[in-house]
Amino acid sequence: MLEWFVRIELSTLSIGVREVWWVFPSVLVIHSLSMAMMAGFGVVISARAMGFASAMPMHTLQRFKPLLWAGLAAATFSGLVLLLGYPAKALTNPLFYIKLLVLIGTSWLSLQLLNNRWHAPTATQLALLCLSGWMVVIFAGRFLAYTHSVLLASWLVSPAGA
């Protein structure tokens, strides 16, 4: 596994992600904005499913569904670029897999709530679950920067980095 990480890390693209000065900050900005867009819409869907803004029928909110897809696309793309830059950092951290699984589940649940699949009280309970899901994704994402045990696999193979 480690050799694979090293191979990716030493590829031109991966080095570019780490060393071209504007790439990493731009990708992080895209990742933050797209995650905030998805989670923000998810929170509003949950709030509506819990009975807030009840004068607004859930089906009208479906107008904003493309936001969820656009957010998912931008977050996945930017996430893959970050992964390309530091593959070992994320893939050796169990928290990364938790974030990924909870993100998939919560995105699905948000879509189902948006499609009005359930009625109260089930909808309320699932909306709480959805809200917690988005919180787990946010916390996991932030804690990823503080819980990695390996930054670059190539450092493990040769301390000089090459």
């Binding site: 900050p25 992080l28 900005v29 933050s32 904005l33 995650m35 905030a36 867009m37 989670a39 923000g40 819409f41 998810g42 929170v43 509003v44 709030a47 807030f52 803004a53 009840s54 004068a55 607004m56 009208t60 909110l61 107008r63 904003f64 936001l67 988005w134 919180m135 946010i138 916390f139 994402g141 932030r142 804690f143 920067a145 503080y146």
Partner: protein, 170 residues
């Protein structure tokens, strides 16, 4: 006392500095800060998009009733943001990314005051499927642009360790 010295003193006397430097202090408060911006962007951002015409058919008044959630997010972020600033003032007050972020927030605030003073009353009584008048759309676009800039600039704060002479007010 300089601004940085004052902020440092506040951080130390309030215990915030010590809390932030415990093992999970920074990531915990950063996570709450992100949760807060999510509330703000989700409610205010969707309202702006509705005014811009993206969610025609959504009752404006009902969508607007979620804005207090965004205000709660803003309050949460002012508190958590304050905790960052007093824990490492030098990283923030001289930082062009932080300065840009504050500027965008001031602009968003003025923009919001104009909206509530001049336009909100007319918007609230608008039928659900009617187009929103142009001035309100411009305000919505400014609001959306400002809050996205706030998030983007906030994310960029970590990329600068700025020299002191970059601060134009210190």
């Amino acid at each position: 006392m300089s601004m940085v010295e004052t902020l440092t003193t506040i951080g130390h006397h309030s215990g915030i500095f010590v809390f932030m430097n415990t093992q999970w202090g920074w990531p915990l408060i950063e996570s709450l800060h992100f949760a807060g911006l999510t509330l703000l962007l989700g409610t205010v951002g969707l309202f702006d998009l509705r005014l811009l015409g993206l969610g025609k058919g959504i009752p404006i008044k009902a969508l607007h009733s979620l804005v207090p959630l965004g205000v709660a997010g803003f309050v949460l972020n002012s508190l958590t943001g304050f905790m960052f600033v007093v824990s490492d003032p030098g990283q923030y007050v001289y930082n062009p990314a932080f300065q840009t972020k504050m500027l965008a927030m001031i602009l968003a605030g003025i923009n919001m005051l104009v909206f509530y003073a001049v336009l909100a009353g007319r918007i609230r009584t608008l039928p659900d499927t009617m187009s929103v008048p142009m001035p309100a759309r411009v305000i919505a676009l400014i609001s959306l642009g400002c809050w996205c800039s706030v998030i983007a600039a906030g994310r960029l704060i970590t990329f600068y360790r700025p020299p002191e002479f970059w601060c134009f007010w210190c």
